[in-house]
Amino acid sequence: LARLAPDRLEDLEHERAEFSWHDLDTCARVFGLRVDDLLAGEAGRAPMTLLLRSDQDESGLAIRDNLTAESCELLGEFQRVLRDIAELERELGRERPALPPIEDPAKPNLHPGERRARAVRMALGLGEEPIASMIELLDKLGISILWSSTAERALDGACARAPIAAVLVVLDEGPPTPWRTRATLAHELCHLLFDLHPERPVLLSPSAVRGPFLSSLERTARAFAASLLAPVLGVRRLVGSVDPTSEVAIAIVGSTFGVGRTLAINRLQHTFSLTDDKRLAMEHRMGANEALTYAANFTGDRPPERFGLRGEPLFGLVRQALQHGRIPPSRARRLLGISPLDHLPFEGLDPELCKPAVSPRDYALRSAFTYLVERHPGFVAREVEPLANGGWRVGVHDDRGERGSLLIGPAGSVEKDDTSGEAGTEG
């Protein structure tokens, strides 16, 4: 899963090579840890270790069957960001509410997903009304939402209880699908409230599930999401005397409860006990261009503008921590993956805090020195002049005087060496 080359792995195992930072970082990510956590010996009790162990106990490698290298990286990075968020919240003295304990009621006549959704609606006082914003609901429960997008989705989402309660929503690149976002948020809420425990602090929701164990968990969470978003009594009351197989019924359920067409049809089938044939006919109207298009108000469930795992909510916390002097600018850069050459993108903050750590001029000077040490020991880089192409000309000297110049490109590489002779000097 760490994608280390077999030769490299063998060298490391037999102590013929040392772990580089990159090796450690890659390995740490597999465990959902940062390098510091890995070096502190946390791998044994890391969430991913526990997940794979619980997997062995309960389901005969089902999790591993569903874990591609890409989804493992995403899941690992998700958990690393959660650690960063938890750390920043501690440094800012923030506290978040504990997740409410909601019992899974023993009602054998109901599907577990339906049963759980009803319990949650009751515990949170949601009645049978539409949920205007899943984001707001999760926020009230103290659950952070992280966002990621990908061209080829292997994961729909994930969730974790530790170190903070959080869900990950994986969106498709391209046109937004807010109804899917709402369903994913509801789906992960089910896992968070009912499927996670200290021995399984993290769980993933693959786009295509393999294996019976995870299939069962996923089926329940899907049913939960549908029931939570569009409750039976609410759907029944809304449809009233309208033909439940009609396009009008689909449109009012979809637009009122903020769900997609398929989910609306499924809820109508469930609520009005429609046959599978009728359901199929409703679904197929879509292909015959008879389907009504409908619009729902999804403004409450838009992803944040600063998107990605290291976008919101981490971005806002880094800003506050920097503003209040809890972290230095260098840590803010590392947390957000911002180069020392770039400004920290925090409007309204002290410009001194946000300015690049290294100016392009100093970067050119450093590149020149790095080059000279290897190629012309004793030569010294001095004057730095900007060039029209965004690069730099760096004057080179030694004890005896000028020795020509180096042309440094805008990306910091030496593009031309116009130095001459041999030399030697040092401070």
Binding site: S20, S330, A357, V358, R366, V373, P377, V380, E426
Partner: protein, 154 residues
């Protein structure tokens, strides 16, 4: 820290940094011999004249990776852009004085000895032992670090 070594000549920071490594290893420092064996004062000679020293180029933005050897009972000699280093020293440590005067625009060399929460603790052979180890934040370090690191094991 007891392994600091004050350079005996104004242009001897490479040899003196090697002496800091020697003292850290419990060896007797041989600054004069290093000057003789490395007349061009080439930093790359460190790994040829001293055993168990591995050179490495550290790219901009990867400076924090130097904490890895420091956590593993190693110390790291690093090159510094003299002019930027001196500007930092004047700002951060205005009262620090050296018997050799000021550092010029040439390459300088110091030895990182500890990782701090934000930055590094290090030995500078140009300045007397009393004020050492000096401390520099990650931000400031990236402004004067010249890109070469020499990782020394015991």
């Amino acid at each position: 820290m007891s392994f600091h070594h004050l350079q005996r000549w104004p242009d001897s920071c490479v040899a003196a940094s090697m002496c800091i490594i020697q003292r850290w290893r419990g060896e007797v420092p041989t600054e004069e011999r290093f000057r003789r064996d490395n007349p061009s004062r080439d930093p790359m000679m460190i790994s040829r004249l001293l055993p168990r020293v591995v050179p490495r180029i550290v790219e901009l933005g990867e400076e924090h990776e130097l904490q890895l050897p420091l956590r593993g009972d190693r110390i790291v000699a690093v090159t510094a852009i003299g002019h930027n280093y001196d500007a930092w020293r004047r700002r951060a440590l205005p009262t620090l004085r050296s018997p050799h005067g000021s550092i010029g625009p040439e390459l300088h060399m110091v030895v990182l000895s500890t990782r701090l929460r934000d930055g590094f603790g290090f030995m500078d052979p140009f300045y007397p032992a009393e004020a050492q180890p000096l401390e520099v934040s990650d931000n400031e370090f990236s402004r004067w670090f010249a890109g070469h690191a020499f990782i020394a094991s015991r």
